[in-house]
């Protein structure tokens, strides 16, 4: 498939011996001026890049106090070294979280600390050179900002924030990543990451309505731009395009239909994802978020519900209020924002959905906690709701459920390997190798418990797994949407089941 070796399964998880420089390289494709300029960045590397970079670093240190704390407080205890999936999969010591932080920390020390200015060699300080800049570009695009390392750091140092700051500095001097910046530019112009224009979105939704009616005999609407609807659904545009994402979207539509609520999708804000976070740029993150606010006000909705998207849920749950708030125009009796899993789980608990769990009996399920949901947000009104609610939904619609290894789930979950702007073909080696810990844990429950499928609530996770599962000798369609499971078990009001039909035949 590609000219690198997929890591092999082992009997138990192994911390590899380090191999210097295995992931050295030039990093992902560099953005062109047409990708950078719409985001407010210079088209290409500016002449006085060194000064611009240091000025930006100083600005970020003042703006984000956390960044300075993280850069100052590491004691090199080593607790993080074996916690990153990219290190475990690549053996490159620069993928140890502490080493990744040090790429930036060393420059910070040289210019911003007393010891670094006067005794650079003693404190691992180094000046900013073109080589350092290139090293940043390479290794900060081997971090998916999943924050697993921060769980184990006794000081709570968040490598994701350091990696975001590094990418922000790189963008500011004109070295952007093509994948992220092209997508953000598309979103600003068209309203979603795919570049899906309104007529195509309309056509896709109508096609899905036909499919649902063909399958169930029930007319289920997927409304677009309906003014005065109660609920605005914000979902990743991958839900309109890719497999298995689109089966999840069908699931949301069926659930809304059964709940009897009025809802709509917006063609103006047809994206949940917010890649502004991946590049650490507040202005772009805000601009993307504002589209949702504007759409909500324009359509006059009372509630906003989020589809299955990991980092979008972090942005919405943790940052929306200051980015695009206050949301005082929404109905305050409901969570703002609300996750589709919360919505569905509530209906399931109140027995408002007719569920036939046996329809999922051909599956033995497990659940992959998506990093941004698990470690950077919450669901429901209890601690750990982000772990419990998706599981409750799955267990309410499936008879067979198995957990993966305790060290690989919930707050200790491993990233899929494609988060944080890494989900691009030019980083396929990073993606495949970084998927190792999750693939190993999945492989174990396949072997021991006969697990057939893994569900996730993140568009990136779903696309990443579809791609990397075959590298690990598993089938790409093992990965499913949580709401695909709901969809398969849900019997709509008026839907004819095989059972009904055979009863009818008998009475004839």
């Amino acid at each position: 498939m590609a000219d690198f070796e997929t890591p092999a399964y082992t009997e138990y998880p192994v911390i590899p011996a380090i191999k210097m420089g295995t992931m050295e390289g030039s990093g992902p494709f560099i953005a062109k001026p047409i990708h950078n300029e719409p985001l407010g960045f210079p088209g290409e590397l500016v002449e006085n890049w060194k000064q611009v970079a240091l000025d930006k670093m100083q600005e970020l240190l003042g703006k984000y106090r956390s960044l300075q704390v993280y850069l100052d407080s590491c004691v090199k205890c080593g607790a993080c070294t074996d916690k990153c999936h990219y290190f475990l999969g690549t053996s490159d010591p620069k993928n140890m979280p502490v080493a990744r932080q040090d790429l930036l920390r060393s420059v910070y020390r040289y210019y911003f600390t007393f010891a670094g200015k006067w005794f650079p060699k003693l404190v691992g300080a180094r000046p900013l050179t073109r080589e350092v800049l290139d090293e940043w570009y390479n290794y900060y695009h081997q971090c998916s900002q999943c924050r697993r390392c921060s769980v184990y750091c006794p000081y709570g140092i968040d490598t994701a924030e350091i990696s975001m700051a590094a990418r922000e500095i790189l963008d500011t001097v004109g070295i952007g990543q093509k994948y992220c910046n092209e997508i953000i530019a598309k979103l600003h112009k068209i309203g979603n990451n795919l570049g899906l224009p309104e007529p195509a979105l309309k056509n896709t939704l109508e096609g899905l309505e036909e499919d649902i009616e063909e399958e169930t005999g029930v007319k289920v609407k997927l409304p677009l731009d309906v003014k005065g609807a109660d609920i605005l659904l914000i979902t990743p545009s991958a839900d309109f395009f890719a497999e298995p994402h689109i089966d999840g979207l069908i699931g949301y539509a069926k659930v809304f239909h059964e709940a009897g609520v009025s809802w709509t999708i917006s063609s103006y804000a047809s994206e949940a994802a917010n890649f502004g976070m991946f590049i650490g740029n507040y202005d772009n993150m805000q601009k993307v978020s504002m589209r949702v606010r504007e759409a909500a006000i324009d359509l006059g909705v009372k509630r906003i519900i989020h589809g299955e998207c990991g980092h979008a849920w972090r942005v919405a749950y943790s940052f929306w209020n200051t980015l695009a708030g206050p949301f005082d125009f929404l109905d305050q009796n409901y969570p703002i924002p609300q996750h589709i899993c919360e919505f569905t789980n509530d209906l399931l608990k109140r027995n408002k959905l007719r569920i036939d769990k046996s329809r999922n009996d051909h599956r033995v399920m497990t659940f992959h906690d998506s990093c941004n949901v698990a470690r950077a947000s919450r669901m429901g009104d209890k601690a750990g709701g982000q772990f419990d609610i998706p599981r409750e939904v799955i267990k309410a619609v499936c008879n067979n459920y198995v957990e993966m290894d305790q060290d690989t789930i919930k707050e200790g979950t491993y990233c899929c390997g494609g988060g944080g702007g890494i989900l691009t073909d030019d980083l396929i080696e990073v993606r495949v190798k970084g998927a190792l810990p999750r693939m190993q844990a999945l492989h174990d429950v396949v072997e021991e418990n006969g697990v057939t499928n893994m569900a996730a609530i993140c568009a990136i996770c779903k696309s990443q797994f579809s791609k990397v599962l075959p590298y690990y000798k598993m089938s790409m369609d093992m990965i499913v949407s949580v709401h695909q499971l709901v969809s398969d078990a849900l019997i709509l009001t008026g839907q004819k089941t095989d059972e009904d039909e055979s009863k009818e035949d008998e009475s004839k």
């Binding site: 997508i183 990451n193 007529p199 195509a200 896709t204 990743p236 991958a238």
Partner: protein
């Protein structure tokens, strides 16, 4: 790296996608397929032609589901599934078939 067909040079991006959609013709498609180690059969053409038709109407490639449905309608239900499409285009119908059809690469979480 530019693509050379019959002595003519076509600009492509880093991944070999055609830079100017209007330059596409069947010879270019065959050359693009060759760069992906694929020989264009009638079945490949069915998919590529549908993609181009859809693109000219909607300015974007169709969802995988839309594509499988259309192929199923045209060639029979046994071919209206993504397994069939992956047999034709092992690197994924969305990306590989788009490339051969001269369309831009789908972006986002796909």
């Amino acid at each position: 790296m530019p693509l050379e067909v019959d002595g003519k040079s076509y600009e492509t991006d880093e991944e070999g996608y055609l830079a100017d959609l209007s330059q596409w013709d069947e010879k270019v498609a065959v050359a693009l397929a060759k760069s992906e180690n694929l020989d264009m059969s009638d079945s490949h053409w069915e998919v590529v032609n549908f993609l181009r038709e859809y693109y000219s109407e909607y300015q974007i490639a169709p969802a995988v589901r839309v594509l499988t449905k259309a192929i199923g309608k045209k060639l029979g239900k046994d071919k209206g599934n993504s397994k069939y499409l992956y047999e034709l285009f092992p690197y994924g119908p969305a990306k590989q078939a788009c490339k051969i059809a001269g369309l831009p690469k789908p972006t986002g979480c796909v």
